[in-house]
């Protein structure tokens, strides 16, 4: 298979990703050369101890941060070459984000938070409303559309974040420790919901975690250690 075909057939292809941070003039390597391929529809966990480079890696493959070296293709497009508007628009259209906490704008209602990306995309009002309600139903929060996020529990807020990430139907959902601020039962519930949605929609999910309970639910577990891949297992 040619490189080009390989890049297009996969959601993510990274080649020798390296990322150094500059800390008081000293180069600190956070990611030290990662080659990884993620296929469409995967449900993959990136695990590893704190400081192993999970966040850095996720930021680089989503264009939130630049790589010091290496290349990232996302849906066959060379992401590491994009910048400015092009990169913003690419993220808007192809990647859904879920963060550890404070995902939502507190002064916007659940509906306004969820519809935001569609607003950026120029989807008309009626369609936005329809899709917001549809996705909120999916995550079990259709009655909370008019609530402000601070009025919701942590688990509910993360479900709204999932709804926001998925509502514009991107092909990739990235979640950096989405359960870190939840108790393990709620976290497990959230993961089950994500897995369910992954199965139903075929969207690719990549999430980082260092929680065993969460890890167990992943179909593929990629282990990072000191900025390198130390293990990559796919369950049968």
């Amino acid at each position: 298979m040619s490189n080009k075909m390989k890049n297009e057939a996969n959601i993510i292809v990274t080649k020798n990703i390296k990322k150094n941070y500059r800390d008081n003039g000293i180069e600190v390597p956070a990611v030290r050369g990662i080659d990884l391929t993620i296929k469409p529809g995967e449900f993959a966990a990136i695990v590893g101890p704190s400081g192993s480079g999970k966040t850095t890696f996720l930021n680089v493959i989503s264009g939130l941060d630049s790589a010091t070296e290496g290349k990232v293709w996302l849906k066959g497009k060379l992401l590491t070459d994009m910048k400015g508007k092009e990169l913003s628009d690419f993220r808007r259209d192809h990647i859904g984000f879920i963060f550890q906490s404070y995902n939502l704008i507190p002064v916007l209602t659940v509906e306004e938070n969820v519809e935001y990306i569609m607003l950026l995309q120029g989807v008309d009002k009626a369609e936005r409303h329809r899709r917001v309600l549809e996705i909120l139903k999916e995550v079990g929060l259709e009655e909370y559309a008019d609530r402000l996020p601070p009025k919701l529990s942590g688990g509910q807020q993360q479900r709204v974040a999932i709804a926001r990430a998925m509502v514009s139907r991107p092909s990739l959902i990235l979640a950096d420790e989405p359960t870190a601020n939840l108790d393990s039962k709620t976290g497990a519930g959230l993961l089950d919901m994500m897995k369910e949605l992954n199965k139903k929609t075929g969207m690719t999910f990549i999430f980082s975690t260092h929680d065993e309970m969460v890890m167990k639910r992943a179909r593929r577990v990629i282990t990072l250690k000191d900025g390198r891949i130390a293990g990559d297992e796919t369950k049968k």
């Binding site: 930021n59 939130l64 808007r92 859904g96």
Partner: protein, 408 residues
């Protein structure tokens, strides 16, 4: 666009206290601009009124050259025709003819040179305030042609009082022969303005014309407009119309150029005040905007991560500055209105103070107008948007990854 406006509006109320403090600071600046402007207008009107209403009039018509030479021969040309025209003039409220000549006033005790003014008592009352200023005797009651009204200072110098006799000597037109008459003091006025109280004397117009030998001609027609602003409109056709056939029509701005210059300067000082106020509040506002930007860094990071372009967050920050501006403007307009209104009731007492060659005679009241409540608020709003540019630029340039590592 609307979304960012909505978001900005909600955002500034997240920290109500900070918004209120910044808003009040800007509001005080705005209110003081409105109040100062109102006071400047009030002061201008006050001074112009002091200058024009006591004697000068808002405009005057003379024969060409009279103002420069004060020669008795130079009278208003085509007097009857001018009067007929003035009577039909839409913008003219009142006018009165005068003779003006230098003369000697002699009492048993002393002698003094004065500006002898011949007035038509019935129309003069609308133009000057001699009638109101007479505090002993009366202002041309009856029809005694030998009545003379003098100022209180002159009475002191000449050591005369009401009812005393004075000899007035003037030089006649053309011949220069001296003409002398005996007058009886029928009124003494007090203006609290030195030149007027010591250097002028008023007699009836016909008597003056007879003494000067100028027939029924006059030296000056003093004019009051229906609206005082006509006097400062240089492009008014009025000036052209009455500056023909050997006459010249001039407004008080030409008669008292030092006043005009002074008012032009107050305009500049108001502008300077704007600049000073702006530079004082600008750091406070920038600080407020940065504080609210930095404490929400993570949030901006999320907005950028999910696909907001840099321009989007720049817009949001500028709109937040604008929203803060609107809150400030509402507060400032209320504050400006109330404080100006308060001073409109109480006024400020500058009476007796000399200013650019005239003495302030009335209480000083600020004058409100609609423009103050349009121009200054719009100015503040635009100023806020400009001030918002810098934090907006910083917000657009931030590193998303760094922002997302904040406050976790």
């Amino acid at each position: 666009m609307w979304f960012y406006i909505k978001l900005a509006w909600r955002n500034i109320f997240r920290n109500k206290r900070r918004t209120l403090i910044a808003g009040i600071a800007i509001a005080i600046g705005l209110a003081s601009l409105i109040l100062s402007d109102a006071f400047m207008i009030g002061m201008e009107n006050n001074i112009v009124k002091s200058a024009t209403a006591s004697f000068l009039g808002e405009a005057q018509i003379h024969g060409d050259g009279f103002r420069e030479t004060q020669e008795v021969e130079i009278t208003v040309r085509n007097f009857d025709e001018v009067i007929t025209k003035l009577n039909q003039e839409e913008i003219v409220d009142k006018f009165t003819p005068r003779t003006l000549s230098f003369g000697m006033v002699t009492s048993p005790a002393d002698v003094s040179s004065v500006l002898l003014v011949g007035v038509a008592p019935e129309t003069e009352i609308h133009l000057s305030q001699i009638d109101e200023a007479v505090n002993r005797g009366s202002y041309f009651t009856g029809d005694d042609n030998h009545d003379i009204i003098i100022g209180s200072k002159l009475a002191e110098i000449l050591e005369v009082s009401l009812g005393d006799r004075l000899v007035v000597t003037v030089a006649q037109a053309e011949t220069g022969d001296l003409s002398q008459e005996l007058f009886r003091i029928s009124g003494i006025y007090h203006f609290n303005m030195k030149e007027m109280d010591s250097g002028m004397a008023f007699i009836r117009l016909e008597k003056a014309q007879q003494m000067l030998g100028i027939g029924s001609r006059v030296h000056e027609i003093a004019i009051k407009f229906k609206d005082k602003t006509y006097a400062v409109q240089e492009e008014l056709p009025f000036w052209e119309t009455y500056s023909q056939g050997g006459n010249e029509a001039v407004s008080w701005t030409k008669l008292l150029p030092q006043l005009k210059a002074f008012f032009d300067m107050t305009g500049i000082s108001l502008f300077v005040m704007c600049l000073i106020l702006a530079s004082v509040v600008v750091f406070g506002i920038i600080n407020t905007l940065f504080m609210s930007l930095y404490e929400r860094m993570f949030e901006f990071g999320v907005l950028r991560a999910v696909g907001t372009r840099a321009a989007g967050v720049r817009k949001l920050v500028i709109f937040e500055a604008g929203a803060l501006g609107i809150v400030s403007i509402i507060l400032g307009v209320i504050l400006g209105f109330v404080s100006t209104l308060l001073f409109t009731k109480t006024g400020i007492d500058y009476r007796g103070i000399e200013f650019a060659g005239t003495t302030i005679k009335d209480m000083l009241y600020p004058e409100m107008n609609v423009l103050q409540f349009i121009i200054y608020p719009i100015g503040v709003f635009i100023f806020m948007l400009i001030v918002g540019l810098y934090p907006a630029f910083v917000a657009g340039r931030m590193s998303i990854a760094d922002a997302l590592r904040k406050s976790l």
